[in-house]
Amino acid sequence: MAVSTRNAPAADARGRRRAVPGRLRRSFGTHWYAWAMVAPVLAVMLVLIGWPLARGVYLSLTDATEANIGRTIGVNVIPSTYEFVGLDNYLRILTSDLFWDKLLWTVIWTVACVALHYGVGLALAVMLNRKLRFRSVYRVLLILPWAVPAFVAAFVWRYLYNSDYGVINGMLKLAGLGPVGWLDDPVTAKVAVIAVNVWIGVPFMMVALLGGLQSIPAELYEAAEVDGAGPWQRFRAITLPGLRQVSSTVILLGTIWTFNMFPIIFLVTRGGPGSETEILVTYAFREAFTGIRDYSGSAAWGVIILLMLVVLALGYRRTLRSQGDPW
């Protein structure tokens, strides 16, 4: 950039210190303002995320619970009595069936939700991208679920699913079928929470993909049509590659969000029946804040979840890179 030239005389004036490895200094001279701009966020993230993260990792290596952690009651300061236990928490979690059950369900939940988000979102985006009467009306109405705060949506759906006075059972009754205890049976409860999450998440995908579709030049389709490509061929050869950039971003974000999706399950089923619909995140949360609060165990769950997501993101990036994407 133009600024870097201003820097040269200053560097000469401080000639004595030029012995310092040149590359780093030059880089600092050229880029100090970029760093200065990034600094506030880095500082906040360091204090608010870095420190708790480090502390969380440390807690996960101890046996801290509500009972032995240091606290202040009135004027009495009770010191911490928890101890360092190494990888015990991790071993305990990784060897428990519970963890693998929850992991399996979390993976099913994430894959099902993201696949449905993307599939339905893409279908609607393609439909909305056609020349169509009432297009903007459809668009606004389809985005509406996104405007409903997630916790409100969760409560609304819980009401719809209610087995005694929920409207879904009301409709089943009209159709001459018996009521279904939607949230009382593990299988229907799982289907139910996935449906809620799909309802909430489709608009985002639709909107993002619609933006992507509109950036594909119309000439490409015309040329393909002249060359005799059918609609399906055009979709595969132009639409899908044209959406690569958007798709890779939204699928990664969608996967992360869904994997960590807290309010839906926490509020719609409360993890029940039993803990059948509990995904890893909600389970770890409950571990930490119900009964005797198991701080160390919950931190260990958190670390495991985070590691899985980081590995996922890195693998995803590697795949994208090998296919020629910039990141």
Binding site: Y33, R158, Y159, E222, W327
Partner: protein, 286 residues
């Protein structure tokens, strides 16, 4: 949008059957997307205890009884105030902090650029579970439990990386030639940012601010743990009371849900056009 070929059938024109199919598909989708919202509004308009049946009698006995009860007989106004304060503060702090970072990441290829981008992405992956206990202890140590500023600080962990990412996408759509012109005219990089780019990015800032507000507005996990005191609750926590394990009143719940969703939805519809470009611009151009 659709351009026409010279001569022949214009692209985008379909047979009548295809058109019917298209509209039918969209209408079904609209019905599904609208139904829960419509049902919510209708239920909230039923008289007290009307929610006990899934039957719909719209105009013969609709009443605003539920709304009156929510506003006068419950803590709802208090929770609303808490939520507005929390979300508002989160929004202001998040956008202020994140704007410069978004700009730097969008414009400068400094060493560590990729690292910062990934940091912003990775921090969005942090599950509530890992940060919540240390943050809880931190808040307890600082006496910030049951304090709105404490909750705002907790929300910074969600809002800041997210805001920076959104702002970056938006700054990507502002042509870099504008910056260069500013530099040629003798502004410093900070001057360019403050006097030239920031005013141009006002729509992007508005969208980021709104999105940030909505994130804090709808958060439940942190709020449940940090705001246990009755009069400090935010909406997401407070509403859980209406449908507790021992007692539930869906009339109150639906009425307050409508009261929460209407202003949010209205503003959302106003900004949604910008939202689309803000979110996808970065991804499509990159």
């Amino acid at each position: 949008m659709t351009t026409y070929r010279s001569g022949g059938r214009p692209r985008g024109e379909r047979g009548a059957l295809a058109s019917i199919g298209l509209h039918a598909g969209l209408l079904i989708a609209v019905a599904i997307s609208l139904f829960p919202v419509v049902w919510l509004v209708l239920t909230s308009l039923k008289p007290r205890d009307g929610w006990l049946s899934s039957e719909l009698r719209l105009f013969d006995d609709s009443s605003l009884d539920n709304y009156a009860r929510v506003l006068t007989a419950t803590e709802f106004p208090r929770w609303l105030l808490n939520s507005v304060l929390t979300a508002g503060l989160t929004m202001v702090a998040g956008v202020l902090l994140a704007a410069t970072t978004g700009y730097a990441v969008s414009r400068f290829r400094f060493p560590g650029h990729r690292g910062v981008m990934w940091l912003l992405l990775v921090t969005q992956m942090f599950p509530v579970a890992i940060l919540i206990v240390p943050l809880y202890n931190l808040m307890a140590g600082l006496g910030l439990l049951n304090q709105i500023p404490g909750l705002v600080i907790a929300y910074m962990t969600i809002a800041v990386p997210f805001c920076a990412w959104m702002m970056k996408s938006y700054f990507d759509t502002v042509p870099i030639e504008i910056d260069q012109a500013g530099l040629v005219d003798g502004l410093t990089p900070f001057g360019v940012f403050r006097r030239v780019v920031l005013p141009l990015a006002r729509p992007g800032i508005a969208v980021t601010a709104f999105y940030c507000f909505m994130t804090a507005w709808g958060e439940v996990g942190y709020a449940t743990v940090f705001m246990s005191q009755e009069d400090k609750r935010t909406l997401g926590v407070g509403l859980q009371q209406f449908v507790g394990q021992h007692w539930s009143d869906w009339g109150l719940m639906t009425a307050s849900a409508v009261l929460i969703a209407i202003p949010a939805g209205a503003v959302f519809l106003l900004v949604q056009r910008h939202l689309v470009t803000g979110l996808t611009a970065g991804a499509t151009k990159s």
